[in-house]
């Protein structure tokens, strides 16, 4: 799952602020806002669990990327070497 949220979308403070405002106004929407916050937290938790790209730390991921790049380079060089290699001088008839 791609991480598409921006920094502003990731903040939880607006939700908490809404709840406090409702509490100040003694509004009946407090429970609704609380439920909304709870649901939002659960959804975020499930999204985080479903993301495969954050299974490792950034450092580990960079190491994996470096290893993979080296692997691709090595295999590319090997293929170029053997495809371009002419062991026999084929006589032109």
């Amino acid at each position: 799952m791609e991480v598409e949220a921006t920094n502003e979308d990731c903040s939880w403070l607006p939700f908490i602020l809404d709840i406090i405002k409702c509490m100040d106004k003694d509004s009946t929407d407090v429970n609704q806002e609380l439920t909304k916050l709870k649901t939002k937290i659960q959804e975020t938790r499930e999204k985080i669990l479903a993301m495969p790209e954050i299974e490792s730390s950034p450092g580990e991921q960079q190491e994996q990327l470096k290893t993979m790049r080296e692997k691709v380079d090595t295999k590319t060089q090997l293929l170029q070497k053997y495809k371009g290699l002419c062991v026999f001088d084929s006589p032109k008839s």
Binding site: N7, M51, I54, S57, P58, M68, V72, K75, L79, K83
Partner: protein
């Protein structure tokens, strides 16, 4: 150090749990203070500060997760490249195996040919010797009857028993060598006891076959048959 070893997922979940707990505590505290109308002891400020701090951490971690997502996409592209190269390498390996098999067969056949050439060189015979031997075989009337051969002539295109026994091997074995008409006693030909029909039927066959095999064809028509068969001589 322990924090950096943790994966981004673990850290995000941990911060999210903290956020949930802190937000619940703050709301409960605010609700309690409003209902009991008691002054807040500054704990709500501390909780609020912690909440803000955790929220900031969560945002930073989400930014890190976003970057990791881009890196992950690049890694997926590289994985596909690796798979493609692996396929090419396997294809090359297959071609190499085929070439090795073909070359091995060719090398084996070439070696066998070289062995045959070497063997032929070791056993080579000069052409002069072969021609001399051919002359010797031809000179003994083995391929063609002599022109003056008539029935009753003891000569044969092969060594007769008597001639064999007269040789070195026969003498060494002390075999009897007394013969009649060039043949051993008891031989129907020697005694001339064969009926005429059988005689004519018997004697011409070997030489006719030999003549045919050797490709000899006398010029005159009457000479193409045995002289004895037609009662002709010469």
């Amino acid at each position: 150090m322990a924090v950096t070893d943790k994966s981004t997922k673990e850290r995000l979940l941990s911060v999210l749990d903290d956020l949930e707990v802190l937000s619940r505590e703050l709301i409960e505290m605010l609700a309690l203070s409003r209902s009991q109308k008691l002054p807040q002891g500054g704990e709500d400020t501390q909780i609020l500060e912690l909440l803000v701090q955790r929220d900031r951490e969560f945002q930073e971690l989400m930014s890190v997760a976003q970057d990791q997502g881009k890196v992950h996409q690049e890694m997926q592209v590289l994985e596909k490249e690796v798979e493609k190269r692996d396929c090419d390498i396997q294809q090359l390996q297959k071609q190499l195996k085929e070439a090795e098999h073909i070359l091995a067969t060719a090398v084996y056949q070439a070696k066998e040919k070289l062995k045959s050439i070497d063997k032929a060189r070791k056993g080579s015979i000069s052409s002069e010797e072969i021609i001399k031997y051919a002359h010797r075989i031809s000179a003994s009337n083995a391929v063609c009857a002599p022109l003056n051969w008539v029935p009753g002539d003891p000569r044969r295109p092969y060594p007769t028993d008597l001639e064999m026994r007269s040789g070195m091997l026969g003498h060494m074995s002390n075999l009897p060598t007394n013969g009649v008409n060039g043949h051993l006693p008891g031989d129907a030909l020697a005694a001339g006891r064969l009926p005429g029909m059988l005689l004519c039927a018997y004697t011409p066959v070997p030489l006719a076959i030999v003549r045919r095999l050797s490709g000899y064809a006398p010029p005159a028509p009457w000479q193409r048959l045995w002289a004895g068969r037609l009662g002709l001589t010469g």
